[in-house]
């Protein structure tokens, strides 16, 4: 057993950290939390700027085969995610770089790979995920939006919802029903589409903190070239499952929490309550220490998942366990930090808000990780059914 990094990995990691630290000098102060990049123009511009900087170094194609402009390996990707998480640096499109690219590499035709991978690697094209519908959430296969083949086009009608950053994205990938007569799971097709195509209407959904990074997307006779297909026609479900497997390992969020903890520790050391530093309060000490333990546990498990992935092994159970754990740790952390800040825990980013209002933001943003990427209840089903072999309810 060996948790250490090679010298080469260490120097790579330093490079990732240095670059992200450098980029953070240009970070707009309004960029608080994970989703503001979709919300505010200056944050979106910063996101695009970071993407271009990363692209110059080839870091958006880490772990890709060299024939598509890739370099490095999975471990490099993990180290890069750590550095970005720590500095909260955007620029790596979760949908394009993290999920779609590896899916295309495994499941798309040569033509599709040649067309869509280079713009992702150049940091030019940003993507959104068009999966969920009003009546198809966890049970995604219950989707209703249709794509009807007409000549060398599909004509799409219906509605998608909860699509993160759809109003910013240049392109979207989605699943649509193409064979209404076929049975569930064999009736849908995975398509790539330009978000500027006529017939697409995008409406923001007001999120509970007053922001609007998520959208509803309406399709009214939207024509998509039939060649923009990934996988087989009517067999989009297999592609969905493949892509879902590439969703976030949690390393990024975990490192972001590590940074959050460091900042909170510094805050407690500097801030006086009852005439002494908050850090002297035994309750505060105990709670922060407990959180630090849980964070270390989350990180160790994320390494375990990464280690398996590096060897092209995958434990569905460990990935699900890691997702449940780091996301619920995010909830606990947000609530605890809010408690420690006292009445200031409720102040949004402003001159009154400690730590630029990050913990007020986290009071809302922890739902991202517990609900999306398969709710935590669905993750528990996965562990119970596929991992522990418990009987599946019908």
């Amino acid at each position: 057993m060996d948790f250490s990094l090679t010298d080469e990995q260490k120097s790579r990691s330093r490079e990732f950290y240095d670059t992200c630290k450098d980029l953070s000098k240009k970070r707009p102060p309004s960029l608080v939390g994970f989703e503001a990049i979709y919300e505010l123009d200056e944050c979106w511009e910063y996101n695009m700027y970071c993407a271009k900087e990363f692209a110059k170094k080839g870091w958006l194609a880490l772990g890709w085969p060299s024939e598509y402009g890739g370099s490095g390996d999975m471990m490099n990707r993990v180290l890069f995610a750590e550095a970005r998480g720590y500095y909260g640096t955007p620029g790596v499109d979760i949908f394009g770089v993290q999920m779609l690219a590896p899916t295309l590499l495994q499941a798309a035709s040569e033509e599709i790979k040649r067309e869509f991978l280079p713009p992702i690697a150049r940091g030019e094209v940003m993507w959104c995920e068009l999966w969920s519908e009003p009546n198809a959430g966890s049970d995604l296969a219950a989707l209703a939006a249709t794509a009807v083949r007409k000549g060398d086009e599909y004509v799409i009608n219906g509605q998608k919802t909860w699509n993160t950053g759809a109003h910013r994205a240049h392109w979207g990938f989605g699943v649509f029903k193409t064979d209404p007569a076929a049975r569930k799971h064999h009736n849908m097709t995975f398509l790539l589409l330009d978000m500027k195509t006529p017939g697409i209407t995008i409406r923001p959904i007001p999120y509970l903190d007053g922001s609007a990074p998520y959208c509803e997307v309406y399709f009214d006779d939207v024509r998509v070239p039939a060649k923009n297909i990934v996988g087989q026609e009517h067999e989009g479900w297999a592609v969905v499952n493949l892509l879902a497997g590439f969703e976030r390992s949690g390393i990024n969020e975990i490192m972001s929490m590590m940074r959050g903890l460091e900042q909170l520790v510094a805050f407690c050391n500097e801030t006086k309550r009852h005439g002494q530093p908050l850090a002297k309060d035994p309750l505060v000490r105990n709670r922060l220490a407990q959180l630090a333990c849980e964070l270390a546990a989350a990180r160790a498990l994320a390494y375990r998942v990464a280690d398996l992935q590096n060897r092209n092994e995958m434990s569905l159970m460990d990935a699900s366990a890691g997702k449940i754990f780091f996301s619920e740790l995010g909830e606990r952390f947000a609530f605890m930090a809010g408690d420690i800040l006292g009445p200031y825990g409720q102040v949004r980013t402003s001159r009154w808000a400690p730590l630029n209002g990050i913990w007020e933001k986290m009071f809302h943003e922890h739902f991202i990780t517990t609900i999306s990427m398969g709710t935590n209840e669905i993750q528990r089903n996965i562990i119970a059914w596929y991992g522990l072999g418990l009987p599946r309810m019908r």
Partner: protein, 377 residues
């Protein structure tokens, strides 16, 4: 990075698993709980033949010179099966001798330990029941070529069968409690030592040890006079990781037994494991186990490679304490009434979670170490 066990470690694990399954059935575990000794000398001998007591002892002193991480692999199996007796007491007390002992002390004790002829334990806690140096009040006063130890130690693991006791004493009153601590290797047959087993949750033979004017020769000082606390810290750190490894094994058994029972116990015409309310608890038990596992493996790896890991060891201990207690509690609840019977195996694990929790530092003790380590003033 490669988080797999080495081939050697896999062999150690398999051997241990097979050996314990055959030699230490739960009938024996129960018998030993009730027995006066609390361990089986025959089994102890066989363990010595397998090289277990000499695992961490270098070959030059009669051991087999494995690493600390190897030891934790073995301990995980011990925890998985449950093995009552002085194995943890002896191995964790061996570390201070390895790291701070004189050549004479090493030559005198280590080969005997490796052969299974010497059981060792450490007397640390006193009436305060705290793990920091402020709890050490028992005096060792110099007298000629010896020291006189006078006072009472509590919660001393298997002291009633130990051949030697490492006794942590106060030799100087000073400003900081960590200053003025001295360790002695005391032959437990020395006049003035008496021992009584305390009744505990795990019936694991924690003892009260009285030292009444016990005369210990100066050459039995372990380490430097007045500077012994650093050795205690090292032992607490290693002991904490060691107990965590044992707990991981126990947690795994709790999860496995619960999942197996839930597939087999039928209520409302279906296995209770088909109820989602239970499935999600079992998923949480499994998740808690996996998060603990890699946290402990990482701390063990650091300790094994001589990397500073005060923070990591304390994080592991504070975290695993709670996980073991919770998982074993859920194991009882998901079995229902049957697992509240002392005839059932799950309570053996549930009760041991209490012992695991206090040994080598409670949750809050370790959290305070973590609090300092993360930089709180």
């Amino acid at each position: 990075m490669d988080l797999r066990f080495t081939e050697e470690q896999e062999i150690l694990r398999q051997t241990a698993r097979g050996f314990l399954a055959a030699e230490c059935p739960k009938t024996l575990v129960r018998e030993l709980e009730q027995s006066e000794k609390g361990y089986s000398p025959e089994l102890w001998k066989k363990m010595a033949e397998l090289g277990w007591m000499g695992l961490i002892i270098p070959e030059e002193y009669g051991g087999i010179g494995y690493t600390f991480q190897d030891l934790t692999v073995l301990l995980e199996e011990i925890g998985r099966n449950i093995l009552p007796g002085p194995f943890v007491a002896t191995t964790t007390s061996t570390f201070p001798i390895l790291e701070a002992g004189t050549e004479e002390q090493k030559k005198g004790l280590l080969p005997e330990i490796a052969q299974g002829d010497l059981i060792l334990t450490t007397a640390l806690l006193e009436s305060d029941g705290v793990f920091d140096a402020s709890g050490i009040a028992i005096k060792a006063a110099p007298k000629g070529d010896a020291f006189i130890i006078d006072g009472t130690k509590l919660f001393v693991d298997m002291a009633h069968v130990a051949g030697h006791i490492i006794c942590v004493t106060r030799t100087k009153e000073g400003t900081a409690p960590e200053k003025g601590i001295t360790l002695f290797i005391v032959d437990s047959a020395t006049a003035g030592i008496s021992c009584q087993v305390m009744p505990t949750t795990s019936q694991d033979k924690l003892c009260e040890v009285r030292f009444e004017n016990v005369n210990v020769p100066k050459k039995n000082v372990l380490g430097t006079i007045d500077e012994g606390w650093a050795i205690v810290e090292m032992m607490l750190r290693k002991g904490a990781i060691a107990r965590c490894a044992e707990s991981i094994g126990a947690i795994q058994t709790c999860v496995e037994m619960t999942v197996a029972y839930a597939k087999e116990r039928v209520q409302y015409e279906r296995p209770v494991g088909a109820f989602q309310a239970l499935q999600h608890i079992m998923a949480d038990m499994w998740t808690a186990m996996e998060t603990s596992r890699y946290l402990v493996y990482e701390a063990a790896w650091m300790e094994s490679n001589g990397l500073p890991c005060t923070k990591e060891a304390s994080m592991a201990k504070a975290y695993v304490n709670e996980v073991y207690r919770n998982v074993s509690k859920w194991a009882v609840r998901l079995h229902g009434a049957i697992a509240t019977s002392n005839d059932h195996d799950i309570p053996l694990y549930y009760r041991r979670s209490k012992a695991a929790d206090t040994a080598f530092g409670s949750t809050d003790f370790h959290r305070e170490i973590v609090a300092r380590q993360i930089g709180l003033v």
